[in-house]
Amino acid sequence: MTEGPRIGQDEWVARSAENIGRHPLLRAADRVPGWARLLLFVVAVALIPLITDDGYINAVVFDTLIFCLLAVGLNVVVGWGGLLDLGYIAFFGVGAYTYAILSSEKFDLHLSSLVVMAICVILGALLGLLVGLPSWRLSGDYLAIVTLFVYQIFISIVTNGHDLFGVDLTGGVNGIANLDPFDLFGIEIVVSKDGIFNSNYVYVALGVFLVVFTALYLVNHSRIGRAWRALREDTLAAELMGMPTDWLKLLAFAFGAAVASLTGSLFASLKVGVFPETFSLTLLITVYAMLILGGVGSQTGAVVGAVVVYVFLEALRDPDVSGWVFYLAALVALVLVVRPRRMIAVVLAATAVFGFVVHAIAGAIDPDWTTSAPPDADAVTRFLDAWVVIPQTPGDAKTIAYIGLIALILLATTVKGIWRWAVLVPTLYLAAFVWENVMSQQPDVTRFVLLGALLVGVMVTRPSGILGERRVEVV
């Protein structure tokens, strides 16, 4: 039925899809049917445990799938329903604690995992209905605050749950330990074999992911999904077009909560125990970052976002990798900022020379101010040690350099003309100094800083996320 536009008949409008500026590669990806993409993803993940028996890698794969599930569930509430839910992690926690209570030594209950999962789905959905009630009267920021409060209630209950009206339910800050491993129809899947993570857990998580993803996809492509999106676009108009918006909001909350709760039980089955601090606000922000990076409202985007963010964060635990990422990010920033492009080479060359001069001067004043690389180090390390000043006892220089770097970056963005080039060179060098002396020493902090840089970079180039559709605001 689709016919091309005729001359003079809104040709620009007819080409709206092209005008949106989707990258040709993304448009090619659009033509791959959804089930094929899902199949490709599932097969790729299923192959990982066959290729490697590295327990660490398989554990990362399992955790990535957990985050994929969380992101996909959050997408129902935030992406489709348009309801800003900051209490989401509470449902994840409820699932984990439910598993811990029903399947551990705590009350000597050892229910089968599949039964616990079913209970978690139902319990999560019911709690979702309850927590969704404020959405009848509140929207946007106001709803966000109320749901955040629900999260706080959850944290309060579990941290004080060792004495809940005289009953020890959650073990308080000590949590619940010695959980039963996952069992499939009575066959237990031990968490680790000879100290190595059992890769069968990857398949359990993959199975759950496949079921949840497909179920949500099918609901989205039905009248319910359309009504959710209509609700997101304009609640009053949706209500007046015959959609029971109050019920639909609760349904979205229930779906999100059920997925989070199910994920929680799966997560708990693998862990030694569950503790209140696992369900931190950082976790909530990470899941939101995944969804936003992937593109709010896109189910595939949620998965892509989860994989990118989690693998990125895990990879950055290794200081070598994070070093590469840092220098690469600096280079990319340079490419994006510097015009004309030929100046990039000039700036880089100038920075290199500047570095060697500073290094030579510093080395001449006091040999302790520089570090010489061990003879067996690779070329990059040798270059860096001959270029960056790395004092053996940096002391206050670290703090001063850090503040100086921020000042120089601010200066570089304000000055114009030749001065900008003049400022850019020491800025780059100081950035390298700060990285080698301060940031690379604290990978646990820097990996979130670098994640932030990644988010900023992606959001600047693609404001609606990697796979998100361009959105216009309803005014």
Binding site: T2, H221, R223, I224, A227, A230, A238, L240, M241, T245
Partner: protein, 262 residues
């Protein structure tokens, strides 16, 4: 013939401000009734009362012989009253076709479980919704056809957005259609088109129509009956000629003494 819609002494007050004051109004089956009046006369409030956005502080609203007062808006829409908005309220980030398909929610059934299982009944229903949407869009000639179906609603021109709003309202399968300023912001040619279209909606669609309009050419062209409101009170009712020459209407629009100066 019994009235399809009847307002009996309906009042609406926001605190001390009475927007609609003891209004009696009826719309008969198959009629096209226009509501006119200066800005702030209570016309849109009237629509909001009929569709259930507000609950009247006094009086009763009867549709097809049953009171619809106090029902939630979606229930009223499901009974057969659909509306368009003066300030367009489309689902901008959904495709043109999806906008219309979404409005079929009220008279379709497939729930969560059937959607997940893709039962034959659900798939049939989904096909019917799609056909319904395409039929409703076809009502506007080639304006909203073909390649436009899959475009997001925000890519449409202003006039096409107004058309899409009407298509979306008709997808709820209403008996009574409330059009809030359908010709606002349109050029003379488009206004002419919308006038013919409203007449067509009655003859081909079989809808009874209550319309708010400021463009007197449109009002003259379509109305069986015109109701003039001012400060929430009905000041005149009758044919276009009767209402247009009514001194109270002229006064409401132009001020006291306008008739004398003429």
């Amino acid at each position: 013939m019994a009235a399809l819609l009847e307002l009996r002494g309906v009042s609406m007050a926001f605190g001390g401000l009475t927007c609609v004051d003891r209004l009696d109004l009826h719309v008969d089956e198959g009629e096209i009734v226009s509501v006119i009046g200066p800005n702030g006369a209570g016309k849109t409030t009237l629509f909001n009362l009929v569709t259930g956005v507000y609950e009247p502080t006094e009086g009763d609203i009867v549709f097809e012989g049953e009171s619809i007062k106090g029902l939630s808006p979606h229930k009223i829409t499901q009974r057969g009253i659909a509306r368009t908005f003066q300030m367009l309220r489309l689902f901008l980030n959904m495709s043109v076709r999806e906008n219309v398909m979404a409005a079929a929610f009220g008279h379709t059934k497939a729930g969560v479980l059937r959607s997940m299982l893709r039962t034959p009944g659900m798939r049939r229903e989904e096909r019917e919704i799609r056909e319904l949407a395409e039929k409703r869009l076809a009502f506007f000639g080639d304006r909203l056809m073909g390649y436009r179906w899959d475009q997001p609603a925000y890519s449409l021109s202003y006039a096409n957005r107004r058309r899409l709003e009407i298509a979306r309202a008709t997808a709820t399968n209403p008996r009574l259609l409330l059009l809030d300023e359908p010709a606002a912001g349109m050029n003379p040619k488009e206004t002419q088109e919308i006038t013919e279209l409203i007449a067509q909606l009655r003859t081909e669609g079989g809808y009874t129509i209550l319309v708010i309009e400021h463009d007197m050419h449109v009002v003259e062209g379509i109305s069986d009956r015109v109701v003039a409101l001012d400060h929430g009170v009905k000041i005149a009712e009758g044919t276009f000629e009767q209402v247009a020459t009514n001194p109270r209407v002229v006064e409401a629009y132009l001020g006291t003494g306008a008739m004398e100066r003429k």
